[in-house]
Symmetry: C2
Subunit: 456 residues, 2 copies
Amino acid sequence: MDPFASPQNLDKELRSLLAQASSNLCDWFAESASQGPMPYSFELPEVYPAKEGVSNDVLLSELQLLMDGSYRPSHPGSLAHLDPPPLSASIAGELICAGLNNNLLADELSPSLSSLERNLCKWFCHKLGLGDLSGGVAASGGSLSNLMALVMARNNSGLETDPKAVFFASHDCHVSFSKAFRIMGLKQESLQKVSTDENGALNISSLRTSLNKIKSQGKKCFAVVATAGTTVRGAIDPLSEIAKFCKKENVWFHVDGSIGGIYGLSEMTSEIVQGLGFADSLTINPQKLLGIPKTSSLLLVANKNHLSSTFSTGLPYVEPISGNDFHGGELGIQGTRSAETLKLWIGLRQLGEEGIEKILLGSIKRRCYLESIIDRSKFKIISGPLHLLAFTPINYSSSQSSDWSLKTRNSLLANKFMLSRPMYGHRYYLKAVMGNPNTKFDDLKMLANLINHSIS
Amino acid sequence: MDPFASPQNLDKELRSLLAQASSNLCDWFAESASQGPMPYSFELPEVYPAKEGVSNDVLLSELQLLMDGSYRPSHPGSLAHLDPPPLSASIAGELICAGLNNNLLADELSPSLSSLERNLCKWFCHKLGLGDLSGGVAASGGSLSNLMALVMARNNSGLETDPKAVFFASHDCHVSFSKAFRIMGLKQESLQKVSTDENGALNISSLRTSLNKIKSQGKKCFAVVATAGTTVRGAIDPLSEIAKFCKKENVWFHVDGSIGGIYGLSEMTSEIVQGLGFADSLTINPQKLLGIPKTSSLLLVANKNHLSSTFSTGLPYVEPISGNDFHGGELGIQGTRSAETLKLWIGLRQLGEEGIEKILLGSIKRRCYLESIIDRSKFKIISGPLHLLAFTPINYSSSQSSDWSLKTRNSLLANKFMLSRPMYGHRYYLKAVMGNPNTKFDDLKMLANLINHSIS
């Protein structure tokens, strides 16, 4: 078979390859429940290209080995992390995206898809309450969205080359911010971590004290990061209060809504993340709960011009764009990009607003249910208003809880439940993420039973 | 249809959706030649999710609108940029990747696929002459790979927070380096551009002079960037000489091989990019010529430890990895990532070493042929040893060549040839990229004829 489809004649071999791959993928889904979340062991196919290319049959059997050795996000017991099973329509969308191979770098390389991205970002901005000047750009992951926001905030403050410039975020902010300051050429103390309250949310009075302190040291602040959905317990920082604070102090307000921002899409849940619309910039990750295959992250900004003023370099080798807008490659860190918004768009069309709401509400219901059946006389449970909860035995020493977490995680895995084991506040927890729509109440009953019996 | 495939039963609706999408994609390929590289106009489907989700039939017809409004990289006249048609096997690979939805952040979220990435990077390192300590990581695009290399180089030099630290690259280096210094908190003059020779390659004696100059100003250098394949003409900087220079000066040697590095994979062409193996870090973009659907970029490093020492933050919520290695999220800027190496791996397996060689040699042959039939009495041609060439009328003023380039680009487009129109040395050129395997010598004859008649 010619490795490239003909532009003149129907490539029947390609069609049959894709049909067979699709069929194998459907079988993989169908057998997921009879396997576990994780393979016991796995075998890799041939990694290196042979001298001659191999046939489609060989490719398919090699693909099968990789599939057999993969994590299975759709297993009902897959509750470890923020990787839900993918939406059917989005799988089809990604297939088309790969076939088109358009480039979001410039409109002339992706006419319809560049427009789609612009319009879809506008929809998100509108739903989440950002104003008329708002807009956004897709990025390959939340770490990139957060990094772009910080670079933009620093650029906007005129502190571009001040390695002592400071930004604030809570102790429970995502690790990507620790990566960001290194990339940005900032000192370690540029990331000033603010204490959290008993719910895991940023303490606003500590923020005030911390800002005054760095000011008295002659340092300047270019951003405050609020987390809407912390990694371990899904806590929401006080968005409206921080927004007010930032406005008064004339500091950029970034919301890392990678985990929780998506709840702003439904009226039934938007109260949880009230204040999102005050953000100067906002990271939102449809890859985390809505089932858009990764990566699917958006950076939304209240004033879209800040993106281009920070990242535009001119593209001296493509045609200028008509109107006031900028090419996709001028709005962020990435240049060449695939049309990641295609799978986002088609997934949302498949769900409809009602389907989105159902996912959001379902995730919270599952968390509430599990929370209600874990034995509180044995466990300390930490959770917020979202779909995450973590727990650790009460009255255990730190080393006892470490032993318990390891042992219990393994025994849960043997029972086909996969939870993660985060370190939080110098103590190990087990953590369940309730983003898997295949997890039923009966599964949770079984899980809680195993958990409750993990200590005598 | 349930938007998520069941983990217990075969989802026939998903299978039929994927089969239909595949079939539509195959039709889209088959009709490409009868369309042009660019749609004359396009219509967007409904962008926003409706209240209720829509049926698969509606989704497919909406997808079709997007496809009709897309750029067609497989049209034989699509020669504008570095976006070739995609390999058949890689389209299937991307479909599977979306379905698995595994996460390269951590091994426990992508057991077989994390191993695949590690092993495939090793293969590239080996083929390109990097040593025993080498390794790499996939990144969503060359701009990210280049940025990661610079951050790593700066980190390694101990100049992490010196905004005056300098790196060198030629005047013809990629625009991503201009973006990089802003992201990294460096001053504009941190990117010191070195003059090029008459072939568009970095002038090594200018490099020497420039380094001495910044040293006398008390500034320090953390990297020299060599470009293996410049954007407009595909020039190759003198890699071995720069490597020697860097070794003597104890400065990090990064090769931006986004365009040309791939020629190092075949013995028939590797001489063109001799010296790649001396790099401390190397960007290579299989998305640009091999037909791996974007994005597909690798950052390879001579000593893999430099990746983790620069980007590792610890991942307090996943299980530690066994052995000496690091999780995927600890080796670069990105955290959550899809398994981009899956489509790279399967594409290489489909091609085999012979297929890779055929693509590389074919691209050069087409460039040589076109170069030989453009009328040199009318045009100045600039090109290098690769698959890129650009040309502009001789004896035209700058404004005449601007008029000519616009008019000619449009009339070529009307004849279904799409070239790009870069500004180079204060003058407009037209540029042809010979990475499209569907372009035949007859097409090129027609193209040259149009070009030669574009001026009287």
